[in-house]
Amino acid sequence: MISTALLDRILPTVAKPARYSGNEWNSMRKDWAQAKVRVALAYPDVYEVGMSNLGLAILYDLVNQQPEMLAERVYAPWLDMERAMRQAGMPLFSLESHHPVRDFDILGFSLQYELNYSNVLNMLDLAGIPLLASQRNEDCPLVIAGGTCTYNAEPLADFFDLFVIGEGEEVLLELLRLYLECRKSHAPWKEEFLQQAASIKGVYVPHLYRVAYHEDGTVSSIEPAKAGVPARVQKRIVPVLPPPPVKPVVPFLNVVHDRGMVEIMRGCTRGCRFCQAGMIYRPVRERPLQEVLDAIDQLLAHTGYEEIALVSLSSTDYTGIEPLVRELSQRYAEQRLAISLPSLRTDTFSVALAQMIQRTRKTGLTFAPEAGSERLRQVINKSVTADDLLRTAEAAYASGWLRIKLYFMIGLPTETLEDVLAIADLVKAVRGIGRCWHGPRAQVSVSVATFIPKAHTPFQWLPIEDAGQIAAKQQALRRALPGRGIELSWSDPMTAWLEAVLSRGDRRLGQVILRAWQLGARFDAWAEAFQPQLWQQAFAKAGLDASFYATRQRSFAEVLPWTHIHTGVSTAFLWEEYQRSLRGESSIDCRGGCQDCGVRVAFDLDRCPSLADDTVRIASEHARDKADRVAPAGRSHMMDSE
């Protein structure tokens, strides 16, 4: 254990020492000696980001509910803390018991963002664990990962013993039990364990697969290196959402999402073609309304939170959203409970919902039309119309909001300068409406991200747009958007470049990540720490060409580095969606009819999307009562009020 005296010497010298001191409400201090398997759950970013991740909170709760198991948390120490730790020779330690991470049996990372990869290596190094899986002996903790990045974790393949693909609730416990079994019986346990783990559904053991390359650098084959290892790893799902955690750790620090979270629905039926989450989280499963209400009741009693977020990829699409929000706002009015709805649609129904839950100053509402022109929105299958947006803006300004925030992307497939300039027209139209209601006080903030094609989406074969082109488009948009009442922000082009490279990389990128880390790369997701030149140097030293990964068009025939990872959505469906996008054809929401994406077959489902019975019943009763209410209409997302 790390001594208190050492901590007391170091913590007063670093910013926000509460990041490292633990003891939060609901944090679990299980008996170290009694536990038969000890898991360190790691998030490779600062505490405030890691503590906002719902997935890890679910697994923390789950593991700690098992009598013979224990889970503790660890996050990436910020630059100042890393310096202090290295100076003092202090190893990475867990928040709960302050045990060194290398004393745990298993170190499990949540991988949600490619720009955290250098932190993964840094955390292993700080823990005193050899970075390469091949160099770790039987006494080293097993290093595993889950999360959205594992759908193409090839760039990290050298550093991990195994990846969990898909939803972790069941498979993690299966893995831990297998671990217990293997460690019980004999001394050399690791290879045996990994062999057996590879046959668990959803588990990917990278070193049991051999990757071969063509001369041009593309992958020629990915094959099991041993008998009994499946050729394709299919992601894991839980057919029914398990009960949500109601006793989460309540941080002292003001974390990114400092509120209670209840997942009301998993997956999204909209089928936006750029959206990786929309593809990999299929099928849609709703949590019954009564279960949501009961969970919130308990969650509030156990945490004292003043705000609850109803989490999903598209909250307005939850069948019972209106009765749910109505009930919550009545039930907890006296406690001044704030309710937030991340990701709403661009329609007046959503504004009505936002109006219902707004308790504090009406600062801003966020909508995401994603593209400026009707044509381009068809291409990406985000078929909200300009009319939808303007009517929604009107409703929002009329209801008293002063600021509307709009999310767009540039660099989308088939995009022309005209499409980009259409963003300016939309923004000006929205500002015009705002001025009618609030005069010069009306604000529009416009956030423009660079589109990054992701694995397992219909755009997975496409290049990212060349940096020069992007710069020209940004310039044009800046010129077309003069003026007062409009605030424009960009995503950093080098950040987008690195994300593009890593998200569709192959195993050879492992040496690039290793070199970048050795050169000093840390916290690449943070503007104040990101040094893109380190990555460029790392590519040069490894003799690899970043543009091969970022700006190259792939053919249908190419073996993509993630070919052996199966989400349930068929490649044929993705390709067909890509072809439809080129023809400017949109596809309908799967609630309106099955699109045969492959998930039903892959998971043998009779109901997809799976809408909760009680929710359907309550919602339809509600609809009868309120027949005159506005029906859900638009198709785009709207983020919650700020």
């Binding site: 020492p17 001191s21 003891n23 409400w25 002292f252 003001n254 945490t303 004292g304």
Partner: protein, 215 residues
């Protein structure tokens, strides 16, 4: 409306929690305990909690104070017993009493604070006592404080009301000090320790008592 005054300890487990974080932790503990809090008016209503004085990050506190305003009446023992089970490790309820709504706000009542500072030192008791005495005899002690927005110059001496040796441990002393803490100026224990020439020897600092105007 009803006003309770809580005296609590902030222990080692939570000494790295900032004042703002501590306020939020109390607010959530009170909500978990289902205390009917009164809220401020305005766009962003906040529960009406008033802390006597912020405790710097890294200090522990033996008798910190907080006033809570309730919307509905509650029995004192009910209030205390409900709250007790809802405090995170390191926060401990020491005392609760009801105070009149008409009293001035708690921060305005604070006049001084007492601290106990553990310093490592090889001094003999007489030597240590001499350090304290030497500091107390000077009529003024010009002091500079580096702040993010510039340097502040002030006289440290009048802020020191008393200075004494609480006790001696192995190679360490516990120094007691009573420092002014009102609108005219707030003494900081680190400054006093620095003035004693012991800046690098500080082991821990605890605020042991807050003195209110009527005390």
């Amino acid at each position: 409306m009803q006003r309770f005054r809580i005296t609590f300890a902030k222990g080692d487990e939570v000494k790295y929690i900032s004042h703002l974080d501590l306020m939020r932790a109390w607010e959530r503990a009170l909500r978990r305990a289902k205390i009917p809090l009164a809220y401020s008016q305005g766009f962003n209503p906040h529960p009406r909690l008033f802390f006597a004085a912020a405790l710097p990050v890294g200090f522990t506190g033996r008798a910190e104070m907080l006033d809570v305003v309730l919307q509905k009446h509650m029995e004192l023992h009910e209030f205390a017993s409900r709250l007790k089970g809802q405090l995170p490790p390191g926060l401990q309820l020491e005392n609760v009493m009801e105070v009149p709504m008409t009293l001035p706000p708690l921060p305005a009542q604070v006049v001084a604070a007492e601290y106990e500072v553990v310093v490592e030192s090889q001094d003999a008791p007489q030597e240590m006592q001499a350090r304290l005495d030497d500091l107390l005899v000077v009529p003024s002690l010009p002091w500079r404080r580096e702040r993010p927005n510039g340097v502040r110059e002030y006289d440290l001496r009048p802020l020191i009301r008393a200075l004494w040796i609480v006790g001696r441990r192995e190679r360490a002393y516990v120094i007691g000090m009573r420092l002014q803490a009102d609108e005219r100026g707030t003494g900081r224990p680190n400054d006093v320790i620095a003035a004693l020439g012991l800046a690098d020897a500080v082991h821990s600092i605890e605020r042991v008592r807050l003195l209110l105007a009527q005390d």
